[in-house]
């Protein structure tokens, strides 16, 4: 492998960009493919499938074996609201391998005592999300019930193409939320991406059960369907 290629691959990982290193096993061909350069690639279909699965794999093309080294950013879970559900969700998300961060400007909620093992940021979402560079490998869950806190996070999650965007609240609450987002210029397709009420319908009642349903929904979005942004391409 050329050293520049390795440097590019490492840079992509540091910057949370997806990339696939294509190597023919005879050592003749090696190139880096990104979602942006995927369209023109002779192995586009196989690379796309590998990107969606998030797994490195061996493929055949016209009698030659190619290894696809797939690099996708680790999945992040950004939770808006340092609430009871978030306390239950934090250890589960860690077990499932998600990188979880909690954002809540209410300092009474966002304390390290309430969340000993997870990063908690006592800031407004509009302040803290841009520098976090949320992306299509990020899931956003809004749990505060407060439009002042949840709405800006939802807006940024939609713009950043987050693979899972959900918000707690009844259908009535969501109806009002939809009106506010429409007033801000979000279209039907954007709004349809918000999972509300958040979580799979497993009849969850307790905060722990709701956390299970939320985590299940995120995993469903991640594994069952191709990432939305990749389908659009």
């Amino acid at each position: 492998m050329r050293r520049e290629l390795l440097a590019e691959l490492n840079a992509a990982r540091r910057e949370r960009r997806a990339a696939v290193l294509v190597s023919s096993l005879d050592g003749q061909v090696q190139r880096l493919v990104t979602p942006d350069t995927l369209a023109g690639d002779p192995l586009a279909e196989q690379i796309d499938a590998a990107l969606r699965a998030g797994k490195s794999t061996l493929v055949e093309h016209e009698g030659t074996s190619f290894f696809l080294t797939v690099q996708v950013p680790p999945v992040r879970l950004v939770v808006i609201g340092a609430v009871h559900i978030s306390q239950a969700l934090a250890p589960m998300a860690r077990l499932a391998g998600f990188d979880m961060v909690i954002v809540d400007p209410r300092t009474a909620f966002a304390t390290p005592e309430r969340f000993p093992d997870v990063q908690v940021i006592a800031e407004w979402p509009e302040t803290v999300l841009p520098p976090m560079k949320i992306d299509r490998y990020t899931a956003i869950c809004c749990f505060t019930h407060d439009p002042k806190i949840d709405d800006p996070a939802l807006e940024q999650a939609l713009r950043a193409d987050c693979f899972s965007v959900g918000a707690l609240g009844s259908r009535k609450t969501h109806g009002k939320r939809v009106e506010r987002l429409q007033a801000k210029g979000f279209g039907e397709a954007d709004i349809a991406r918000i999972r509300a009420p958040i979580g799979l319908d497993i009849g969850a009642i307790t905060p722990t059960e709701i956390a299970v349903s939320v985590l299940g929904e995120i995993i469903l979005s991640l594994r069952k369907k191709p990432l939305r942004a990749q389908v659009a391409q």
Partner: protein, 123 residues
């Protein structure tokens, strides 16, 4: 890169636990930038019960340092040996390990699985 190899096998399980793919490819780049000959071994195929998934890396420097893993520590020694040859001649190679290969290879996989490993030089 002449003479005996100076890698130390007993620490390998410790390394397996500690090194993420992040560190491995980053370390490979750092070694190459420091002017060392470097090879990268990648698990490209597995059958049966294999200890490390497809895509796992082991980076090897010509001075004998290595980071990462392609198995539970069973075949790393042989991969490192091959990597040294690869650093010398620049030719990529595909290695196969399994319980059935005990006569061909010094090492086998005790778990009963089979793996194929691609070894290439960086640079």
């Amino acid at each position: 890169m002449a003479g005996a190899m100076r890698y130390i096998l007993p620490n390998i399980t410790e390394l397996i636990m500690l090194a993420s793919d992040d560190d491995i490819l980053g370390q490979a780049e750092a070694w190459a930038n420091a002017g060392k000959g470097v090879a990268l071994a990648t698990v490209i195929e597995t059958w049966g019960s294999a200890p490390r998934p497809v895509g796992s890396h082991l980076a090897i420097a010509e001075d004998g340092h290595f980071l990462g893993s392609v198995s539970g520590g069973c075949v790393e020694g042989d991969v490192v040996t091959e990597a040294m040859d690869c650093i010398s001649d620049g030719k990529p190679r595909v290695l196969e390990f399994g319980v059935a290969d005990e006569t061909a290879w010094r090492a086998g996989l005790s778990c009963g699985g089979r793996i194929r490993v691609y070894v290439e030089r960086i640079g």
